[in-house]
Amino acid sequence: MKGLLVNRWGLFAAAVLLLAGVLKEDYYFSLLNFIGIHTLLVVGLNLLMGYGGQISLGHAAFFGLGAYTSGVLTAAYGVNPWLALVAGLIIAGATAFLLGVPALKLRGYYLAMATLGFGIIVFIVLNEAQPLTGGPSGLAGIPSLSLGPLALNTPRRLYFLIWATVGLVMALSANLVDSRLGRALRALHDSEPAAQSLAVDTFALKLKVFIWSALYASLAGSLYAHTLNFIAPSSFTFMFSIKLVTMVVLGGMASIWGSLLGAAVLTVLPELLTAFHDYEVVIFGAILMAVMIFLPRGLVRGLLDLWEFRNYKRQGGRIPV
């Protein structure tokens, strides 16, 4: 088990380095950078939704809070980008706390409702607070990140930062779900009363994980702002929140590696479908429906299931347990 994990992270690092060596065009690095940023968002949402069973329909807003905190502080006030990133984390975390306290006290889908409303409010504020955010036309002139003397101003340079961050976040998250509170989180998803009867403070835990996932989203937002050097409210819509939820479901609920796959597929797919651009939405929808119907547990688990089923038939029908 442990060897397997070491191999997984080793493979991950090897793949990241290999791609860096093989790929030539900036376009591919840009695309990979967006996959990485989406992965951060999806891993966080998966902790909350896949593992904890708490649906957030407003994750684009936390992404936007991170992006705009970084963007405004660096572009308008000349704050150090790394400090701005930390400020984004604080703002997103505090917002998640204030939103989570009332929403998570109630059972059922109140978090989904509250975050949905919150997402729409943030979108409106980003549009209307023109003096601060630049309004619908966006905020330009966001500087690039730099590590000491090295300016991370090309997709290729950013690629290493973003994917090191993705690796770190995925490793932390994999540890987390296999820890005391990770188990408690999965437990409350299956049976909240049983978790409570074992001294799990389910409200406090949901709140912590909600904040934790908002921090990932804010981190992704800050990286996004410094990657594009320009942000506009249209990147932080309700539809984007839905797309994140779709990435979680497609990759697989309660799967860290599935999050990477879900983010990758749904980031690359629209790029491939631009050739059919009139039918993009239709094709996109059809692929989604097919996956939902035939691989309801997501791509990773679904393909594993198919593999096991094949072995099962080969071995003459012995049920794999």
Partner: protein, 253 residues
């Protein structure tokens, strides 16, 4: 150790529990019996914080606990099982038991994510203690299986192991024998006696009279939310009101 003093709870017009006073002695195996709808499970929910009484006091180890949330009461050392088995179906048998150790471990989100040396040590202990709990109920060989695939009898045992892993001083078992066959029920009876051997006080709600009479030292009888009799099994079996309310009607039905 657990004392209910004049506890009452009504759901709208239905008086689920009415002026019930009951005291559980440390180290005892005590049972609550009564017809369906008599308020037995409601009493469990009151004692574990899933419901709050409208009147009366519930005292555990000298502290008033009525109205406290379930996790806070569990933290004091009261564990329970559920009438409809509530396992964590997407987790393994071992992980289920490991959640039982939640009460006695400390790691937070950050230390869990960073896997600090202290956290690793704690994890190791959690794993060992959870395995010991599985061994106690005889499920250690199924540790890696998914909890969802266990047959019902073993699910009930796992629920007990999970509660046992939290090292409770008081364990509440809500109809642990329902759905079990005769052999499984026998095994359960031995388990309950073994729990007491370990110094755990057991409060049991059960319809299986043979099991109840065999293991319980003291039986309380509820009917329509009221306590109608209390005493050792022999006395309860002969109690006219109990026969009329429960033992009799149950056979006729």
């Amino acid at each position: 150790m657990l004392e209910l003093q004049n506890v009452s709870l009504a759901f709208g017009g239905l008086q689920a529990v009415e002026d019930v006073s009951l005291s559980v002695r440390p180290g005892a195996i005590q049972a609550i019996i009564g017809p369906n709808g008599a308020g037995k499970t409601t009493l469990f929910h009151l004692a574990t914080g899933f419901l709050a009484p409208q009147a009366g006091r519930i005292v555990f180890d000298g502290q008033e606990i009525q109205g406290r949330p379930p996790h806070a009461i569990a933290a004091l050392g009261i564990a329970r099982t559920f009438q409809l088995v509530q396992l964590f179906d997407h987790m393994t048998v071992l992980e289920n038991a490991m959640v039982g150790r939640h009460r006695l471990s400390r790691a937070g989100l950050l230390s869990g994510a960073l896997r600090l040396p202290r956290t690793r040590t704690e994890e190791k202990l959690i794993r060992e203690e959870a395995l010991a709990a599985l061994e106690f109920v005889g499920l250690a060989d199924r540790a890696r299986q998914s909890a969802a695939v266990l047959p019902l009898g073993l699910k009930r045992l796992l629920e007990i192991a999970r509660a046992y892993a939290s090292r409770p001083t008081l364990l509440l078992l809500d109809e642990p024998a329902s759905g079990l066959d005769a052999a499984e029920t026998d095994r359960l009876g031995e388990m309950i006696l073994a729990l007491r051997e370990q110094g755990i006080t057991v409060l049991l709600v059960e319809h299986d009279m043979a099991l109840t009479m065999e293991v319980a030292e003291e039986i309380a009888v509820l009917n329509y939310g009221r306590l109608i009799a209390q005493g050792p099994p022999r006395a309860i079996q002969k109690h006219p009101e109990v026969i009329a309310a429960y033992l009799g009607t149950d056979w006729q039905a």
